[in-house]
């Protein structure tokens, strides 16, 4: 093998390690110290540690790497303040869909999660909140019946406790393997947000790469404040489908955060380094005077 090939193998291995992080941690106990990741945008290579310390933002070009649900929770919540709820909920093969059981099992193993949505109560700069995070490493963060149920629960708990609700979305949309049952989760989550809204609750919706399909077309678009991370793909239809439909190439930057901001669908784009501080400030500014 020449040097180039070795490098390529190393990058592949690191990709595998990253993808199966939780699995490797559990089976091997430790992560290789010099585990590296390559920035898909500027192609610079960093150590895993270096990236983690920078909230998984590329130190050289600012590209936002994908984050796991717990990495986000660590980044947003005051230390030790997160209490996860409904952590044990697992999906069932509601339509007897071929391969779905296997897909679920693999997703669990690779991500170390029971489902794509993790939520609980926490404090953000000492303020109480309910935080929910979709993790795209679990079947593309897709919304099936359990994800829909957990999202609705997180909304209802925020309403009951009168806490602000902060949800980080990252999703390919509705979960295909649960068919029309998944589709109905759009109605479930959107109507739960509507009730929360009526009750005077504050919902800060944060769209990360990617937020598409049925997730964008339901609760995620209904925030009092809608924030996106830089460069995130945000759209109802996927770019491939649009290109096939209209028979032309889409322009550079189409359906990215900056494009959505320009078209009036976001309040702001906030990079990860400033996310916690911005959310905390928004929470304090939106506190109801009583």
């Amino acid at each position: 093998m020449d040097t180039f090939e070795i490098k390529r193998h190393k990058v592949e291995l690191m990709k595998y390690l990253r993808k199966n992080l939780e699995f490797v941690k559990k089976e091997v106990g430790v992560l290789p110290e010099n585990m590296i990741e390559k920035c898909p945008s500027c192609r610079t290579v960093f150590s895993y540690k270096e990236l983690s310390e920078n909230l998984r933002v590329c130190p050289s070009c600012g590209h936002h790497f994908k984050m796991t649900a717990y990495e986000r929770i660590d980044m947003m919540c005051d230390e030790g303040s997160f209490h996860e709820l409904a952590a044990g909920a697992v999906s069932h093969d509601v339509l007897d869909f071929p391969e779905y059981r296997r897909v679920l099992k693999e997703a669990k193993q690779q991500s170390g999660l029971n489902e794509a949505y993790v939520f609980g109560t926490c404090r953000i700069n000492a303020r109480h909140a309910v935080i929910g995070v979709l993790d795209s490493s679990f079947i593309m963060g897709s919304m099936g019946s359990v994800v829909g149920e957990k999202i609705a629960l997180s909304i209802e708990i925020a309403q009951r406790k009168k806490y602000p609700l902060v949800i980080f979305s990252a999703s390919g949309g509705a979960r295909m393997q649960e068919g029309t049952v998944s589709l109905m989760q759009m109605a479930k989550t959107a109507s739960a947000i509507k009730r929360f809204d009526r009750a005077g609750g504050l919902f800060i919706s944060i769209l990360t790469d990617p937020t598409t399909g049925g997730v964008l077309a339901s609760y995620a678009s209904l925030g009092d404040i809608i924030i996106a991370e830089p460069g995130a793909l945000i759209g109802f239809a996927g770019p491939r489908v649009i290109e096939q439909t209209i028979g032309e190439k889409l322009p550079e930057g189409f359906q990215r955060s900056e494009y959505l901001l320009e078209h009036g669908f976001l309040d702001m784009i906030v990079d990860r380094i400033h996310m916690k501080e911005t959310v905390a400030k928004l929470m304090s500014l939106n506190e109801r005077r009583s």
């Binding site: 069932h92 509601v94 339509l95 869909f97 071929p98 099936g144 019946s145 359990v146 149920e149 609705a152 509705a174 295909m176 649960e178 068919g179 029309t180 049952v181 998944s182 589709l183 109905m184 989760q185 759009m186 109605a187 479930k188 959107a190 109507s191 739960a192 947000i193 509507k194 009730r195 809204d197 009526r198 598409t212 399909g213 049925g214 964008l216 077309a217 339901s218 609760y219 995620a220 678009s221 209904l222 945000i234 759209g235 109802f236 239809a237 996927g238 489908v241 649009i242 439909t245 209209i246 889409l250 189409f254 359906q255 078209h263 009036g264 669908f265």
Partner: protein
């Protein structure tokens, strides 16, 4: 008819000679007046909306509009709404609430239009707002899937107190072609996808997603459109009159509970 496969039903649902929203409107209502425009950007020909008398009751009517031939289909964008359609629907639904009119929706779309302009003008946001608004309306909402109900584009009109389906209609997460293309990167596996997706009225009744199946004449609605629409009329009227007796707060609460419950478990519809 029960022996037809899901894919065969999809074929029936897509037939050009199948009765469409305008046929239902013409036969079921009197004095229909179409109301156009979203007061924001434009009027979406793929969504028809208006007010009419329904056996003496003033109602707001919304529906997906599809053509019966190529020219009409081009005009109505094959029934695929743009954000303007969903915003028009929001405007008319708010008006319905203001004047205490029940809302009746006819669902018949392969999905929201996946176009460049549609994305630019916020297709996802328009659908989300539509669902949220419908979930909270203090007037009865009855929706009926008369042909193909595809994806969030169809669900936008489907957050209703009662959801009915014609016997051979399908209601799906995505068109089977799109589904096969996403899962297996091969759109020609549509017939397999269609079977696995369980999109028929019978499947969805069993899953507790719809409330009633409306029977079609033998051979399908196109063999005797008048008879098919008459069946739909009888069923829809039953739901509208029942719901009109309910207290507005109870209506909204029950609608919420109804969607809150859907979790994929098979159940007898002992409660609605």
């Amino acid at each position: 008819m029960a022996q037809l496969s899901a894919y065969e039903k999809l074929g029936l649902a897509r037939r050009n000679d199948r009765p469409r929203t305008m046929d239902y409107i013409d036969q079921m209502f009197s004095d229909f007046i179409e109301l156009k425009g979203d007061r924001c950007y434009g009027d979406d020909p793929a969504v028809v909306g208006g007010i009419a008398f329904y056996k003496g009751i003033p109602v707001t009517v919304l529906g997906n509009r599809r053509g019966k031939n190529v020219e009409e289909n081009l005009r109505f964008n094959f029934g695929m709404p743009n954000p303007e359609g969903y915003r028009k629907s929001q405007r008319l639904a708010r008006q319905a609430e203001k004047f205490g009119r029940p809302v009746i929706c006819f669902i018949d779309t392969p999905g929201a239009y996946p176009g460049k302009g549609a994305e630019e003008r916020g297709q996802g946001q328009a659908i989300a707002e539509n669902i949220a608004l419908f979930s909270d309306l203090s007037v009865p909402v009855v929706s009926i899937v008369i042909g193909e109900g595809g994806s969030g584009g169809a669900l936008a009109f489907g957050a209703a107190d009662s959801v009915l389906m014609m016997e051979n209609a399908v209601y799906e997460i995505l068109s089977p072609e799109g589904f096969a293309s996403i899962l297996w990167r091969n759109s020609s596996l549509a017939s397999r996808a269609c079977r696995l997706m369980k999109p028929t009225a019978q499947d969805l009744k069993e899953l507790g997603i719809i409330d009633e199946i409306v029977s079609e004449p033998p051979g399908g609605a196109h063999t005797d459109p008048r008879a098919a629409i008459k069946n739909a009329d009888r069923a829809v009227y039953g739901h509208v009159t029942r719901l009109l007796k309910e207290d507005p707060d109870a209506l909204v609460e029950n609608r919420y509970r109804k969607y809150r419950r859907i979790d994929g478990r098979r159940r007898q519809m002992q409660h609605t």
